[in-house]
């Protein structure tokens, strides 16, 4: 079946601009995660949704970052006033429940802020 889909695959934006990154999870998966991966680093947790609500947003670095999942399926990560330090690969993952299921990752969106 279809996996986790992230669009766009690449995004180049100028410093100070606003960007939206989209994630389509696997159908029926109730849990959705956003991670950020910088070059040479492991994925860094940003936010986790259980259904429509953000169960844990402790990883969002500051108030320029925000994520929504209004209908419990597709999620959008929004970054305001982008900075060069925001450049990274943003990974989305979903899982069927919130117990011991592994996360299924998308291929990520590579964000470059110039």
């Amino acid at each position: 079946g279809a996996g986790v889909s992230q669009t766009p695959s690449n995004k180049v934006t100028e410093k100070g601009k606003y960007v939206e990154l989209r994630c389509d999870p696997i159908s029926g998966h109730t849990a959705l995660y956003w991670y950020r991966q910088s070059l040479g680093q492991g994925p860094e947790f940003l936010i986790y949704f259980q259904g429509t609500g953000a169960a844990d947003d402790s990883g969002l670095p500051n108030d320029r970052f925000f994520a929504v999942r209004p209908e419990g399926s597709v999620s959008t990560l929004k970054i305001q006033r982008t900075e060069r330090g925001d450049s990274a690969v943003y990974l989305c993952a979903s899982s069927p429940d919130f117990s011991n299921s592994p996360l299924h990752f998308g291929n990520g969106t590579r964000l470059t802020v110039t």
């Binding site: 986790v4 995660y33 991670y35 040479g40 680093q41 492991g42 994925p43 860094e44 947790f45 986790y48 259980q50 169960a55 844990d56 402790s58 990883g59 990974l91 993952a93 429940d97 919130f98 117990s99 011991n100 592994p102 996360l103 299924h104 990752f105 998308g106 291929n107 990520g108």
Partner: protein, 117 residues
């Protein structure tokens, strides 16, 4: 807070030899442990997990991992390495909290495995 350590940034192994990629963890309560593999320009792919039961778990592509509670380790192993095993490997841990059943999944910094023909 939970954490994962992968002490080796790079591991080189000759094709056909056994391989080990090391991982230690710290978490409150019983851990859920995972290994993921990442190929260039791709997302992470799940390899195997330890939840409970046998300390030796088997996963995809002939990989296995051994859970050692006393050493808080979860090393990834394979008896005979293939060139196609060359990739970036991440260990991850998840603890258990009461509200939603799970903590977030916390990843290590990764180990680049290179299999030499």
């Amino acid at each position: 807070a939970q954490s994962v350590a992968q002490p080796e940034d790079q591991v080189n192994v000759a094709e056909g030899n056994p391989l080990t990629v090391k991982c230690t963890y710290s978490v409150s309560g019983n851990p859920y442990l995972f290994w993921y593999v990442q190929y260039p320009n791709r997302g992470l792919q799940f390899l195997l997990k330890y939840i409970t039961g046998d300390n030796l778990v088997k996963g995809s592509y002939g990989f296995e991992a051994e859970f050692n509670k006393s050493q808080t380790s979860f090393h990834l192993k394979k008896p005979s390495a293939l060139v196609s095993d060359s990739a970036l490997y991440f260990c991850a841990v998840r603890g258990l909290i009461s509200n939603f059943g799970n903590e977030k999944l916390t990843f290590g910094t990764g180990t680049r495995l290179t299999i030499i023909p």
